[in-house]
């Protein structure tokens, strides 16, 4: 079975169905990009994968562990699955170092010394070691987002979910965050990312899924999706995005 295995997942918010019979397979060490218009359900799908949203219907298995049979220990599961949000969501009352070490210390029981050592090593890797004792509001958006990624990495996850992590950033800050993601992909991290960065998706993805109104309408290798989309809706969407990128 692939590392992430999703079958027939549906999700409603009240009477609004936002995911419709989603099937998705992600082999270990692969990178899957979710693309699609705003409101198509990308964030919801990612949030279902670590049970931040309740899954009403269907089956999800991650690393051989079924999530949807009601028996899963969600806290244990979430320690294996990192998620990073568009809005960074760093804890504003904690320093960078405290942000990164909180979950390893309280969730995994790692000692303060060891968790700080590891956190500093991670921060050094992204060139932010000198910001360890700053509060998040003193960092640029790109720096905050990289800290958010490191905060997730500090738990030693086997799967990373990235939800439009560059959408809130000024254009000149996007590349520093994408470089980090590129490095992660190179190191073999299994990742699912929702993104509007088509160029980046084309470069790092093993597979691209186009979501439309809660369905995966089309999926395939990036070369095929971006150069020869089969579905008219996919073509329309890509044309719109290209148009917007030209205007930007």
């Amino acid at each position: 079975m692939p590392f992430v295995h999703v079958r027939g997942v549906s999700k409603w918010f009240g009477s609004l169905q936002v995911l419709k019979q989603i099937d998705l397979d992600v082999p270990e060490h692969n990178v899957v990009c979710l693309i699609g218009a705003s409101g198509s359900g990308k964030s919801t799908l990612l949030r279902c994968l670590n049970l931040l949203e309740h899954v009403e219907e269907g089956e999800i298995v991650v690393d051989g562990q079924p999530l949807t049979n009601g028996k899963v220990d969600v806290n244990a599961l979430r320690k294996k699955i990192g998620i990073v949000f568009q809005a960074y969501n760093l804890f504003p009352h904690m320093t960078v170092l405290q942000n990164v070490t909180l979950a390893p210390r309280k969730g995994l029981g790692v000692s303060r010394e060891r968790s700080e050592e590891y956190a500093r090593a991670l921060l050094r890797r992204i060139g932010l070691e000198d910001k360890a004792d700053e509060y998040p509001d003193r960092l640029s958006g790109g720096q905050q987002q990289r800290v958010a990624i490191v905060r997730a990495l500090a738990m030693g996850p086997k799967l990373m979910l990235l939800d439009e992590i560059t959408s809130a950033l000024d254009p000149q800050l996007v590349s520093e965050v994408l470089n980090l993601v590129r490095e992660l992909a190179g190191s073999g991290m299994t990742m699912i990312l929702a993104t509007h960065e088509m160029g980046f998706a084309r470069e790092v993805a093993d597979k691209v899924c186009f979501l439309d109104a809660g369905c995966i309408l089309e999926e395939g290798p990036p070369a095929q999706i971006f150069s020869a989309p089969r579905e008219p809706r996919t073509r329309e969407f890509l044309a719109r995005v290209l148009e917007a990128e030209k205007l930007a």
Binding site: N50, L52, N75, A76, L77, R78, K79, G82, I83, F85, A87, N89, L90, F91, P92, H93, L102, A103, K106, G107, L108, D137, R151, A152, M155
Partner: protein
């Protein structure tokens, strides 16, 4: 003109003022003691109640209902009536432990019961003002509900509610005078005694001065916190 002169004399008489000061001060020490103990108890109990009230899930429904009933009751009942319930009711129960407490302790219980209800609401507003994405971020890292509350939500909430909380404490400090109705020998009660002996109202002025003197620093401190917060938030907006 004569009437005005009489009123002024009844309140502002330097001789009586200095004479009444030691008596009223002795009483005021009881006010201070009640304030401090009640404030510490309120800080802890109100947080516990606010957390109970916010517990998720259907299993916690009775606890939530209990917390709501508590705040509704004690916010709705005038403190004087609570004081009569406690000050006259508890001794009347003739229970070993509860009925033999000192009258000052009853005063502390009254203040704690009532102000816990107010401060619970303050905490709750603070907890609800922390954006849900903070909880999502904490939970997504594998922290439990309680860990997320303890390390992420509550610390942010408490920082935000310090000014309204201090406002409630100003109220609590003044209301220590109300529990004199059950016989606590605090400043207002002793001022009343002195007033009937002196035949003037100077002792009330003495008591007022004491209350004002401890309220002003608290009020200025609150202003300072609010101003600092505003400055910081303006700085962040740019």
């Amino acid at each position: 003109m004569h009437a005005l002169h009489q009123v002024l004399h009844a309140f502002f008489d330097l001789h009586s003022f200095t004479q009444d000061m030691p008596d009223v001060w002795a009483g005021f020490q009881i006010n201070l003691k009640m304030m401090v103990i009640a404030e510490v108890l309120v800080l802890v109990l109100a947080l516990a109640l606010a957390l109970l009230r916010g517990l998720p899930g259907p299993a916690a429904k009775p606890l939530r209902a209990l917390a709501i009933a508590y705040t509704d009751f004690f916010r709705g009942t005038p403190i004087i009536i609570v004081a009569y319930f406690i000050g006259l009711g508890l001794p009347g129960l003739q229970l070993n432990f509860i009925s033999t407490l000192s009258i000052t302790t009853y005063g502390v219980i009254v203040l704690t019961l009532v102000y816990t209800a107010y401060v619970t609401e303050v905490y709750r507003a603070g907890i609800e003002s922390v954006h849900p994405s903070q909880r999502a971020a904490a939970r997504s890292l594998g922290l439990t509900y309680m860990q997320a509350m303890r390390y992420v939500i509550v610390p942010q909430a408490v920082r935000r509610v310090i000014p309204p909380l201090l406002n409630d404490f100003v109220g609590l400090q003044k209301d220590t005078a109300l529990v004199s109705v059950i016989g606590v020998g605090e400043a207002a009660a002793l001022a009343q005694n002195a007033s009937s002996i002196d035949g003037n109202f100077v002792s009330y002025l003495v008591a007022a001065v004491f209350f004002i003197l401890i309220t002003i620093p608290l009020a200025r401190f609150t202003d300072h916190l609010v101003a600092t917060r505003e400055r910081r938030e303006r700085a962040q907006a740019f």
